[in-house]
Amino acid sequence: MGFKAWSLGYLALINKRLIARLDIKGPNLIKGIHLEGLRVIGDPQEFAKKYYEQGADELLYIDIVASLYGRSNLTEIVKKAAHDIFVPLTVGGGIRAISDVEDLLRSGADKVAINTAVVKNPKLITEIANRFGSQCMVLSIEAKKQDSGLWEAYTDCGRERSGLDVEQWVAQAVDMGAGEVLVTSIDMEGTKKGFDKKLISMVTNSVNVPVIASGGYGQAVDLKIASDAGADGIAVADALHYNRTTVDELRKHAVDFDMPVRK
């Protein structure tokens, strides 16, 4: 480990981002398990401000039912966030068209994360990348492990099968212009059992753009596991919402593990 830490420092790779994930339903911050069984936690703005003050590198907002009902309060929530929060905001859920992206960017979002709409119409990836830059187009994948040992991409908040193999889909989407990948493990999400390490390494090995790992954070060592698997960003949700940890504590753990992070 000593050698690895040294070489990481020497190479000055991109620092790992510690990301607070806020799942949204209507006006509320919510939390589910396996993206289901939603429970209201509170006002997203209150939590977002807390994570900003604790030093989060980025905030990730996902409206987890927007794609089902075709509506979203996200613009308002993002606008409120951008009023007081001066770190990057990545926003997803229910984005279908260029005009949705425009609205969110105008409201203060830096990047959009899209799953369902680009599964249905992959060309949207290229349109968004051409218009706003690939750095803005985050491919969001909800992955579920199949009996075959491969992962399938799901849509509509983990409800619908897409028939797409995650490994092939992620490579195709990046070729088409996705500049970053958010990969959420449906199996691990909300379980506190740790990230799906194999899923993360498979995705990071398939593409040459940054990858955010989401779903499963339970304890400090999970940061290192995700980082070693190649994740560039690590998203933590309910562990923060329920005060099991704080962003500054996560950062201390990351430093202890010799992970390259903002200090």
Binding site: F86, V87, G108, F132, S134, P210, R262
Partner: protein, 212 residues
């Protein structure tokens, strides 16, 4: 009056908010050449492609007012694409002329991006440790009082190379590459990072800009 130049590109809400947060009064988003002529300070924001940015400025007749601001000695701050447009030319998707306020060119961070040898990820998305190298008095810089090794947030695939070393104000290391993070020539300042997204460090940079 502080004008944020609106040329139809990029997310300007956060830039506006960060200025207000830092105590700026009279912040206005504008694409009106007259308002830019009359501004005390100008911010040129932007995310996206170089040629679209220059075209957006041209179509709105904003290049002359910006040139005027430079010769008048008004503080002009370019952020991200706004910074890249300040230099002479860009190699992004062909060869394009820039505003030429600071001699230099925009080149890919990694020259051969498709090379299988390179395992470096592009775009660079994230927080980097800034090496500040002031070439002017601190009080004439946006980095006045900013600690060495402060972290800032960047998202980009291209960066600026200035013709004159003296115009370089800050870099960060990505693998063995020294990437340009900040440039300044007199009253013209360019930041590749997003001060409006770089937490407290970024807000302090903005406060300094308001004092120039």
């Amino acid at each position: 009056m502080i004008i944020i130049v609106d040329y139809g590109i990029g997310n300007v809400f956060s830039v506006e908010r960060s200025l207000e947060h830092c105590g700026a009064k009279n912040v206005k988003l504008s694409s009106d050449p007259d308002e830019i002529y009359n501004a005390d300070r100008i911010i040129l924001p932007g995310v996206g492609a170089f040629q679209d940015g220059i075209k957006g400025l041209k179509d709105r007749g904003l290049i002359e007012p910006l040139q005027n601001a430079v010769t008048q000695g008004k503080p002009l701050l370019g952020i991200c694409l706004g910074m890249q447009m300040l230099v002479s030319s860009s190699k992004e998707f062909g060869h394009h002329s820039g505003l030429d306020f600071i001699p230099g060119k925009v080149v890919p961070i990694i020259e051969s991006q498709k090379s299988k040898v390179s395992t470096l990820k592009i775009p660079y998305i994230g927080w980097a440790k800034l090496d500040i190298e002031l070439k002017q008095e601190a009080t004439k810089s946006v980095f006045n009082g900013i600690k060495k090794n402060s972290y800032v947030y960047l998202v980009h695939s291209f960066h600026v190379q200035t013709d004159n070393q003296n115009d370089m104000n800050g870099t960060y290391n990505y693998d063995a590459i020294k990437v340009t993070a900040a440039i300044q020539k007199d009253n013209v300042i360019g930041l590749q990072f997003h001060p409006e997204k770089s937490g407290e460090v970024g807000l302090n940079v903005i406060k300094n800009f308001l004092l120039l």
